[in-house]
Amino acid sequence: MTLKEKISSRKFIITSEIGPPKGIDVKSNLEEALMLKDRVDAVNVTDSQSAVMRLGSLAVSRLLKEEGVEPIYQLTCRDRNRIALQSDALSAAALGIENVLVLTGDHPSRGDHPAAKPVFDLDSVQLINTLKGLETGKDMAGKELKGVPSFCIGAVVNPGADPLEPELIKFEKKVKAGASFFQTQGVYDVDAFAAFMDKVKSFDTCVIAGIILIKSPDMARFMNKNVAGIFIPDKLIEEIENAPDRQHKAVEIAARTIKDLKGLAHGVHIMSLGWNKLVPRILDKAGL
C-alpha cells in the first residue's frame, strides 16, 4: 500500500525524516533509510533544511525509493519560482515520487548562505493549489501537460502557534487548496494537542503529530526559547536532566508521547535529528 492508500484507509501513519548531506556522500542516509524501512510508512527528505545548502531532496527521495523506502519529497517555496516549482514537481512525478510535502521554507538570511536572494514566488497555499492544477493536466499558465502527474500532497501546521486562529485560517486554506495530510510541529503537551485536534476535526483531514527527540536539557530550553509553537514542560526537562542515559530517556519520552497520541492523531512523524537508529526502539516501546 502506498502512503496515499494508507491515508485514505485511515491507517495510523508512521513517518520519519532524513536530511541529505552537504555533499554527495549518501551512505549514511541510505543506512538510516534501511534501518527505518520496515518500520515506517514513509520517510521525509528535507529540502536544504534551515536554509542550509545541501544535496537535493529530489535526488535523495529517488535514492530512497530505489532502496524500497517510500519517500516524502519536501518542496519549499524558498529557492524556486513558479516555473522551477512546477518543473521540480513534474520531475518528482516522472521519477515515481508521489508524496510531496509543501512548505514555505526558512528565510535564507537564517541559513548558511545569508546573502542569497529569497524567492517565495508562491506561498505554501498557492503551491498546493498549483500541484492540484498539475493533476488536472494543466500548468499554472493553463497550458496542457503531456502526461499528467498524480500527487499525495502534504503540508505542515503548528498546533502550538500563538495566537492559533491565524494558523487555523491558513490550515483551512491548505485543506481547501488540496493538502491531504498534515505533519505538525513537535508535540510535547498532549492535552494542548487534543484541544487543537478538537478545533480541526471538522476538516476531516489526516493530521500526523510531530515528535522531536529531546537530546538534552539545553536543547529543550533552546527550543522553548527560540522555536515557535514548541512548549516543553519543565517537568519533562527535569526528567531528562536527571536521566543517567539520555538516549534511553529520549526514547522513553518519545514512546510515551506516541502512546498518548494514539487515538488523537492520525499518525506520528518522528524527527530524530540524527538519531534515526533509535526510531525502531521508540516504535517497539510505543507498541507500533
Binding site: H107, F120, E165
Partner: protein, 219 residues
C-alpha cells in the same frame, strides 16, 4: 519618501581616489529629512573632503536632483564649476545620483545607499511599509502590506514561525501577518484572510518601469 543612509566615509573616499576637484550636490527633500544630503550634511562633507586635501568646487543643495529638467538647468547655470570638477558627489538617493549623471554627463559618485520607500514615523525613524509591487492589495489586508512587512512576502497568512508576535526572520520586528490578522479581526473582516489570494503577477513590476501620465502631458 525615499530613505537613504550615508555610506561609510572611507568607502566614499575610495570612490574619490585620485580625484582632485569635487562638486557636491545635496537634495532639499528626502535626503534632507534623512540627514544624508541637507545643508548641514553637505557642509560637513565639504569639510571632510577639504580635510583630505580635496578641492570642493561647490557644495549645493538642489531642489531636487531627481528632476532631470532641474538638473539640466543647474548644469547650464553652473557649467564651469561642474565640468571643471573630477566628480560630482551626489548626496541624495540613487535616483538623484542617476539623474545628475544623466543631466550632466559627469562622473558621479553616490554618497548614500538607497534603502527603501519609507514612512516617516517620527523624526529620524523610518519604516518600510510598501514594497512597490505594482498591484496594491492593501484593501484585503487591513492596510498592512504583507509584501513589505513579511520578509517572505507571503500572501495567504503567517508562516507559523512567529514567536511572541515577533517575526522569525527578525525578532526586532512584529510579524507582519499577525499585524494583519489583528487588524482584520478588530474590523470584523477575517473573511478577507480566509480567501485564497492568487500568486502575485510579477509581470506588473518588470524593471525598469516607466509611465507616461497623459493628464500631465496634455496640460
Amino acid at each position: 519618501m525615499i530613505i537613504t543612509r550615508q555610506k561609510p566615509i572611507d568607502d566614499i573616499l575610495k570612490c574619490l581616489d585620485g580625484i582632485e576637484k569635487v562638486f557636491i550636490v545635496g537634495c532639499t527633500q528626502c535626503a534632507t529629512i534623512c540627514k544624508t544630503g541637507g545643508e548641514e550634511e553637505v557642509k560637513s562633507m565639504r569639510q571632510v573632503l577639504e580635510g583630505k586635501g580635496k578641492k570642493v568646487t561647490a557644495a549645493e543643495v538642489w531642489d531636487t536632483p531627481c528632476n532631470l529638467l532641474e538638473v539640466k538647468k543647474r548644469f547650464r547655470d553652473g557649467k564651469d564649476a561642474i565640468s571643471g570638477s573630477g566628480a560630482v558627489l551626489v548626496m541624495s538617493c540613487g535616483d538623484g545620483a542617476h539623474t545628475v549623471c544623466a543631466g550632466t554627463g559627469m562622473n558621479v559618485v553616490p554618497a548614500n545607499d538607497t534603502l527603501f520607500l519609507g514612512q516617516s514615523e517620527r523624526a529620524g525613524r523610518f519604516n518600510e511599509v510598501c514594497a512597490l509591487c505594482g498591484d496594491c492589495t492593501l484593501f484585503m489586508t487591513g492596510g498592512y502590506c504583507p509584501n513589505a512587512l513579511c520578509p517572505k512576502g507571503l500572501q495567504n497568512g503567517p508562516c507559523g514561525g512567529a514567536k511572541d508576535g515577533k517575526c522569525e526572520v527578525n525578532p526586532e520586528i512584529d510579524c507582519g501577518w499577525l499585524l494583519i490578522y489583528n487588524r482584520l479581526k478588530d474590523a470584523g473582516k477575517l473573511d478577507n484572510m480566509k480567501k485564497i489570494m492568487p500568486p502575485k503577477d510579477h509581470s506588473r513590476s518588470i524593471r525598469p518601469r516607466r509611465i507616461i501620465v497623459d493628464a500631465v502631458r496634455k496640460r
